[in-house]
Amino acid sequence: MNNQELSSDKIDVLREIGNIGSGHATSALASMLDNSLRMEVPNVKVMSFDDLSELVGGADTVVAAVLTHFKGDVSGMIMFILEIKEAKNLTGHMLHKTHSDDIKDFDYMDKSALKEVGNILMSSYLASINTLTNLGVRNEPPAICVDMAGSVLDYPIIELGKVGDNAIIIDSKFMDNDEPINGFLLFVADEESYEHIFNALGIGC
């Protein structure tokens, strides 16, 4: 299967998985952030590698990214990525602190908090695959990296590069006190896994 040839049926399925996942994630995050939090309907896009870093402001923009591998009937990796200033807004809110503009001003507490947010988002998304398809998915502990978008995206792009030249992006925007926090979920599964998902839902390739 070539990602570029994803039919609208299949995009709908991924969007629905995103919707259910966002629903789970929003309620879990809202209780953690002790705040009302809304999540918009996610947007599903198929993008080329070169365009990926443009999502977060270009290859040299500093970003924070949380990444986890998953295994089971569906295997691959999922990444939650956002610009450092958005990450600071989010963790500043969680930890009741204000950050300077220095990119080094993002300490282990910030990283730990963001890792937890990413973990909740990504686990919710994976759980929704299980809810919808009954396929088994098990995620591993996440890791975090703060660096230039290009260098952070190398990791999933190299994995994707083994099978194709495109990525499926689930754009998950959420609002905190009417202030949008732009985050992106990058979902990378191997070819077989997509077949498992679509077959389980009766829309085989």
């Binding site: 870093s53 591998h69 990119i103 080094k104 990296c145 660096d147 952070v152 990791y155 190299i158």
Partner: protein
């Protein structure tokens, strides 16, 4: 007016002074610049994977250390560069994500650097400077007039190799 030529991921380009050539945000990828002391032109390659032979989807030859280097060196030779005078500077091959409880056996960054060194060794192109490994991303800019490879990292001062 000098331009800055940008090389994307899994790509290579040639550049003639006074233009400079750059590739942005090398993580586990590796950037390889090939030049000589006297030629006005040089080449920069941005590889993603060590070997085209391990991957079925290998139509883009510039993605791989083996095919990418062969193609770029051929193009440089076609422009009149002598193989025996070629020199290389390399950067990248970092390990961006540190997973707990996972063995580091053959991280792709390390494997990329090893593959590049092995190939350059076989074809006898000396690596005169390198900045590889560790856990941070690098943007590189090569100025063929000074032969300096400038390395920019987020939150660190620039360095020249």
């Amino acid at each position: 007016m000098a331009n800055v030529i940008r090389v994307g991921i899994g790509d290579w380009k040639l550049c003639t002074s006074p233009d400079t050539i750059t590739t942005i945000g090398l993580g586990s990828c590796v950037g390889i610049v090939i030049y000589t002391q006297n030629d006005k032109f040089c080449g920069l390659l941005h590889i993603m994977l060590p070997s085209s032979k391990e991957i079925a989807n290998n139509s883009n030859r510039a993605k791989f250390a083996d095919t990418g280097l062969v193609d770029m060196i051929k193009a440089l030779e076609k422009q009149g560069m002598k193989r025996s005078l070629m020199k290389a500077k390399i950067a990248g091959g970092a390990k961006m994500f540190q997973f707990t409880g996972k063995s580091d056996l053959g991280s792709v960054g390390d494997r990329n650097v090893i593959a590049v060194k092995k190939i350059l060794g076989i074809i006898k192109i000396p690596i005169v400077a390198e900045d590889c490994g560790k856990d941070f991303g690098r943007t590189v800019i090569f100025d063929n007039e000074t032969k300096n490879l400038t390395i920019k990292c987020a939150g660190q001062p620039d360095k020249k190799i």
